[in-house]
Every structure is written in C-alpha cells, then in structure tokens.
C-alpha cells in the first residue's frame, strides 16, 4: 500500500497505548465466521430482547471508536509512527529506484493528514449549521402557528362572505366604472354620471317630474336662490335650458375640471398667432352646451387632452387645481352675512368684542352689504321704470302695426276702391267696351270702372273733368286725357275697332297704375310698422293678379316710370312724352 494514497487509511496503532500490551500483542481476527444462511431468515433469528426504551436518568453512551492515546506513551507512539512512515517511504524509494517514495512521500502523508482534519472540521461545521437552520425553522413554524391563532382571534368565530368580500367587490366595480368614465368617457350599462361632480354611480339619474335637470336647482342664479331682502329679487331666474329635460349644468366641479384641462391643453395647441386649435374650440362649445351629456363633455375633453399629450400626472394636478379653486371660492363666501340684519349683528358682535381688526372687517362687510342692497333697490327701481316704458312702447307698436295692416289690407281689399274690386271691374268693363256700338255706349260702359278708379264726375258728355286730371296725378291723368280724347273723337257715331282696343289698353294701364299705387303704399306702411316684415306680408302677384306673393319678392320700381315697349301714340301721328 502506498502511503501517499489519499484514500489510504492511517495505521491503527491504538494497541500501542495499552499499558499492558506490547507491539507483539494479540492481533484481532480479521474476519469473524459468518452464521449459517439458514440463521439469517427472520424465523431462525434470535429474539430481540434489547431494551431500547429511553432512561432519562442515564446519560447517553459516547460514540464508539479507538481508545485515545494518553500519557507518556503518546510520544513513543508518535516516534514509532514517524519511523514506520520513514521506513515505508524508504522502502518505496528503493523498490522504484528513486522514482517514488523518500522525503516527498513523507511530506505528502502529513499534508493528507492535515487535509483530512480540515475536511472533518468543515463537515462538523456544516452539520452544526444544518442543525441550527432546522432549529430556526422549527422556531419559525411555532411562531407562525401562534400568530395564526392570534390573527384568528381578531375575526368572528362564524364568518360569512359579507365579513370580508361583498363591500370590496362592490367598490371594485365602482372603481372600474369610474375609471372607464375618466379614461374613455363611457359608462357601463346600468350606470350613470352625476353631471355636477362627474361621479359614476349605479342606477339611473333621477329626473324631477317637471322635466328639469336635477342639477339645475342648485345652479347659481336659479330662482331658488334666497332673496337678499324680502321683496327684492337678486337676479333673473334661470331660463331656457333648465326646462328642456336633458339639460346639464354648465358650472360645477365637473365642468370646472374639464375647463381647467381645456385651458391647459389649449395653451399647448395654440398656433403661432395665439389662435385656439379648432378641436379645443369645439370641445369648449360642447362643455358649455347645457344639452351635452357628461359623457360627451368628457369625450370632447379627452380628445383635446390626448392631442395635447397631457400625461396622467398633469391631468391629476389640473383636477386637483380645479378642486382647490372651487374650494377657495366656496370658502371665500362662507361666513359672510346674507342680509343687512346679519351684517349688523356681526358688526355689533365685533364691537362688543373690542377687537379693532374684527370691527374694521365687520364694518367693511356691512358697508358692502348695504351698498349691495342699495344697488339692488336701485336696480329694481330702474327695472320697473324700464318695464313701464317698454310696455308703453309695446302698446304703441301694437297700435302702429295694427293700423298698418288694416290700411294695407284696405288698399287691396276695400269693396269700393280696393285693388281687388278695381281689377274685377276693369276686367268686366273690357268685355263691355268690346261690344260698344257707338261713343255713347262706350262712355256708359266705362262709368263703373271710373267709379272704382276714383273718378267722381265721369258721365255723359262731361267725361273726366280737368279737376280729376289734376287729382289723379301726372301718370294717371294723362291716361284720363287720352280716354277723353278717344271718347270725344268717337262722339255718338260708330267706334272704330282700333279705338276700342286702345281704350282697353288704357284700362289696363289704369289698373296697373292702381296696383303700383297700392303696392307702394303697402310697402311704405309695412316698412314703417315695427315687427312687420315684407317677407310675411302677401299681395297680388304683378304678373297674375289672381295669385299672391310676398312683398319682398316684388322688385321696387324706379322713380322714372317711363313705359317700355312700342309707343301707342305712333299710330295717331303723335309720340310718347317723358313723364
């Protein structure tokens, strides 16, 4: 056996330590005789009568091993061991012609022995560490077991789900619904949004029976605002959107938050000239629109917010800022007196306290309240005076309008001289004129038409008097003169067909003049009557007297009413004069 083999067992020289034994002591038998195979079966084995019970009064026996070498023999044993190692190394060197053995083998032997001692120490340390870890684990388990009992002592003996889960689950849904509204502007089915706060809740928004929005009652300026003083109305009641049934408030914390975000995003999106982005303008319109739903307002704000690239932290800060401003505004008005009597009471209390600052503050508040009340009274007085004046004006306007309508209608529908009657009479006269056999019949046939045209003395040989010419004006008067000339020319004899045709043309001209006269008068009266519009006033159509058209669609004739078309006087050797 090579002694430099690390796996080699050291020599057992424990027998040397026995005081009564020498190196030539009896050697132990290397192998004990094995029992017969039949004796190895359980049935043939000897009964185990070993008492393995634990006796706590007796200490446990130590581990079995070689008898330790003690006393002066230890030195002798060490010397003999060293000599044996040296001789073994020398023998090895001789046997291998110096390749192995010698002093290096001796040194290697002692190095191996040292390494074995280190390994044994390390193994012992690891064993201690493992034992310590196990002890720590045991202690930890025991502690945890005790803590479990203590924790369960904080809960009821019988527990159901409501003790731990129901409210948490409900709050989870609420949180999810709120998050959906805040990030997408949508709410799940069966959920609603408070238009004042933007708070999402389960169920439908309660709508009052009168159809107004629930939040409208708390809107500033509403009629429910208490009066500053009895009999004094601080402001006009809210009108318009409150009664629509779908209106949402245009103020409140929710709208303030949206506006705060729009302001911040609007600054980011302004162009070089400082103009608002169209998206921002549209969003502002939606947020300010009382008919917009909270979802629409939130979605409009989200679109702007995303376009501006506002982060969640920025939006959170803006929201907090809006809340803070609202709180400050609320706090600024909190504690202020609502009436003069309250202000006087606060001033009296301050004077009683003797605190100059408090007195000055209360005095200032009272002065402000007094001034406000005085202003309110003055406003109310002015309002009443203005209302009275407005009522008078309204009554006058109504009278003017009524008169204008009546006069205008008379121009067109008066049974004696109205345009409708004139048109009917002229048409009837034209048929009779065509059947006249002589000048007398012609003159007689014209008489009814002359009456409705306003000619008073048209009869027999007198025809139309010069006075009538003057009264009829230059345009119509010339027609009368022409008519007189034709009738005089015809005399009592037969009337030429051309003359009859010319008479009918003159009648048409007279009717057209009547129409133009009535039209001009109507246009003037309608324009002068407040509240009346040419668009809503209808008169006979100039191209078809049987039809109606609105006044504004008839073109205004120029002052120079020169007739157009062929000159009717040419066939008689004359010519048309400028009128």
């Amino acid at each position: 056996m090579a002694i430099n083999d690390p796996t080699a067992q050291p020599l057992d020289i424990s027998a040397l330590t026995a005081p009564t034994s020498g190196t030539a002591g009896p050697m132990p038998a290397p192998n004990q005789s094995a029992p017969p195979a039949a004796a190895m079966t359980p049935g043939m084995a000897a009964p185990d009568v070993t008492d393995r019970s634990i006796n706590p009064t007796q200490p446990p026996a130590g581990p079995a091993g070689p008898v330790p070498v003690t006393g002066g023999h230890s030195k002798l044993a060490a010397m003999v061991q060293g000599l044996a190692i040296g001789l073994s190394a020398a023998g090895t060197s001789l046997g291998t012609h110096g390749r192995e053995g010698g002093a290096p083998e001796v040194q290697q032997y002692y190095a191996n022995q040292q390494a074995q001692k280190h390994s044994a120490a390390a193994a012992q340390t690891a064993q201690k560490n493992a034992a310590l870890q196990q002890q720590l684990l045991t202690g930890e388990i025991n502690r945890q077991n005790g803590q479990n009992y203590i924790l369960m002592g904080t809960t009821p003996d019988e527990m159901n789900k409501s003790h731990v889960a129901s409210q948490a689950a409900s709050m989870g849904l609420q949180s999810q619904a709120q998050d959906m509204f805040d990030t997408k502007g949508q709410v799940p089915a069966g959920w609603s949004v408070d238009p004042n706060t933007g708070q999402v809740f389960q169920g439908q928004q309660q709508t009052p029976a009168n159809g107004s929005a629930p939040a409208a009652a708390s809107t500033p300026g509403n009629a429910s605002t208490p009066n500053l003083l009895p009999g004094v109305t601080p402001g006009a009641p809210a009108t318009g959107t409150a009664a629509t049934g779908t209106a949402t408030p245009t103020s409140g914390i929710f709208v303030a938050r949206q506006n705060m975000i729009l302001d911040a995003a609007g600054k980011e999106l302004q162009d070089a000239k400082g103009n608002d982005d169209p998206l921002v303008a549209a969003a502002r319109k939606i947020v300010a629109d009382p008919n917009s739903t909270p979802q629409q307002k939130r979605q409009a704000t989200l679109a702007v917010q995303n376009k501006a690239g506002l982060s969640a932290d920025v939006v959170k800060n803006l929201t907090a800022k809006a809340d803070l401003e609202l709180k400050q505004a609320t706090a600024a008005t909190a504690g202020l007196p609502k009436t003069q009597s309250e202000a006087a009471a606060q001033l009296a209390a301050a004077q009683k306290s003797g605190d100059r600052d408090q007195i000055a503050k209360a005095q200032a508040v009272k002065d402000a309240v007094d001034k406000t009340v005085q202003d309110e009274r003055q406003f109310s007085s002015n309002l009443q005076a203005q209302n009275q004046a407005a009522n008078k004006q309204l009554a006058l306007q109504n009278t003017v309008v009524q008169k204008a309508i009546e006069d205008s209608n008379k121009l067109w529908t008066d049974p004696q001289h109205g345009f409708a009657q004139t048109a009917a009479q002229v048409n009837a006269t034209k048929n009779i004129v065509a059947q006249s056999k002589n000048g007398s019949e012609l003159a007689a046939s014209l008489e009814p038409a002359m009456v409705v045209l306003g000619v008073n003395s048209f009869a027999g040989v007198h025809r139309i008097s010069p006075t009538e010419y003057e009264a009829a004006g230059p345009a119509v008067g010339s027609l009368y003169r022409r008519l007189n000339a034709l009738l005089d020319k015809a005399g009592k004899g037969a009337v030429p067909a051309a003359t009859l045709s010319e008479v009918n043309g003159i009648m048409d001209s007279l009717l057209r003049g009547k129409y133009q006269s009535a039209l001009d008068s109507t246009r003037q009266e309608i324009q002068n009557a407040p509240g009346l519009s040419p668009k809503t006033y209808f008169v006979p159509d100039p191209n078809n007297y049987g039809a109606l058209t609105s006044l504004d669609k008839i073109p205004v004739a120029s002052l120079a009413t020169t007739p157009t078309g062929p000159d009717p006087f040419a066939q008689f050797g004359g010519k048309r004069h400028q009128q």
Partner: protein, 230 residues
C-alpha cells in the same frame, strides 16, 4: 428548581385536564374523528363548506389535532402536553408554555401544535413533539393519520376559499401547495417536514382573511358593517 416536570405538575394541579410531560403515543385508533370532526377523510371536501358561514378557528384546531395525531401515530413520543387551564386567557397560556419549553429543549427543539379551547373536545392543549425525532421518522405508505391530516388542511383551505374566493392568489397558492404535499398521502416524508408543510399552508390564508376583515372596523373598507356615527 423549576423543571419541566414541576411546572407541568403545578399546571395539572390547577386544571381538571391531565397534564403529562411525556405521554405515550396516541394509538391510531384513538384518533378516530369526533362526531363533528371534519378533519378526516370521513368528511369530503365538498361538505367542508355547506352553509352560509364557516368556522375557521374550529377547522384550524382540527388541523392541529390531526397533525398531533399523525406524530403520535409515527411513534414519536411527546415531550410535553400543556393543557389549557379553565379560566386562563391566551397570554397566561403562552406564559405557561414559555415556562415549560426551556426544560424540554426550547422552542427550537420541539414542534408545537395547539388545539382550540372551545373547539377541542378535551378543552384544548399545546402539544410538543421533539423536532429531531420527527426528522428521523418517515411516514409509511397508506397512513390513515397522514391522509386525515391532509384532509383537515384541505378542509381549512376550502373554508378560506369560500371567504376569499377561488381567484384569490393566496387561495391558488395554498391549493397548489396542498396538492403537492398530499399527492401520495405524504408517504416517505419525514414527520417534521409533513408537520411544517401542513402548518405553513394556512398561514397566508389566515393573514389575508384577517386583513380583509380588519377593513370592517373603524376606518376600514367596509362601512356597511360599522356602527353609524353620531
């Protein structure tokens, strides 16, 4: 000198329940389930949660009782059985345990199990088994006490799942751990490892339940369970 024997004898004199420092192992047959005992396999997991409410303290007490019965069935002798003395509170009982433990190797040398005063038919006790002996003892195949201990643990986990919901992370972990531990009836596991495993599974569940229930108190998250404020 205050030895463990002296202390336990003093406690025995104060209590009606017998206090024996070293009791012989309880035979397996003596660990038969009580009429209301759902800690064994005689009660299926489906029956563990059958009503509107659950009793976690009773389930945990039966889990401890089943583990102690398992240790006893392995032949590991108890180092101490510290019964609950009628009238003493938890602090006093812990003080009694603290007095006994130094005499039997300390809290790190013994694995403790404890049954509930109210839910244990014997009035509740804290039982110590030597950790070293448990580490050197393995559970044989088809051990009924081992199966009963796993069933008791599963019973507790199911009750906790009833309260927390199956989707709760702690419930998922506990069920996975229990499936791993009880796959083969804990055969060939050491007694110590089985006890540690079964006692470790309910810990996070109890913490989660206690945390959730703490929300029902003033300032918590369940205002509907609080008394109305004035």
């Amino acid at each position: 000198m205050a030895t463990a024997e002296n202390i336990l004898q003093q406690k025995a004199a104060q209590s009606d329940a017998p206090a024996v420092p070293v009791q012989p192992p309880v035979p397996v047959q003596s660990a038969a389930p009580q009429p209301d005992d759902d800690s064994t396999q005689s009660v299926s997991d489906e029956d563990a949660v059958s009503g509107e409410s659950v009793n976690l303290q009773r389930a945990y007490s039966k889990l401890n009782s089943a583990i102690a019965a398992l240790f006893d069935s392995l032949g590991v002798r108890r180092t101490a059985t510290i019964p609950h003395v009628a009238g003493e509170n938890m602090t006093q009982h812990l003080q009694a345990i603290g007095s006994v433990l130094p005499a039997i190797g300390g809290v790190t040398a013994n694995l403790l199990t404890a049954t509930h005063t109210k839910h244990d038919p014997n009035g509740g006790a804290t039982i110590a088994h030597p950790a070293a002996k448990l580490r050197s003892t393995t559970i044989p195949k088809n051990s009924e006490p081992a199966k009963a201990a796993v069933a008791a643990c599963r019973n507790f986990v199911n009750k906790a799942a009833f309260l927390l919901g199956d989707d709760d992370p702690t419930v998922k972990i506990a069920k996975s751990q229990l499936d791993l531990i009880g796959k083969f009836g804990m055969a060939n596991m050491t007694g110590f490892d089985s006890g540690v495993a079964l006692l470790s599974v309910p810990g996070p569940l109890i913490q989660a339940i206690a945390k959730a229930h703490s929300g029902t108190k003033d300032g918590g998250h369940a205002p509907h369970l609080r008394a109305p404020r004035k």
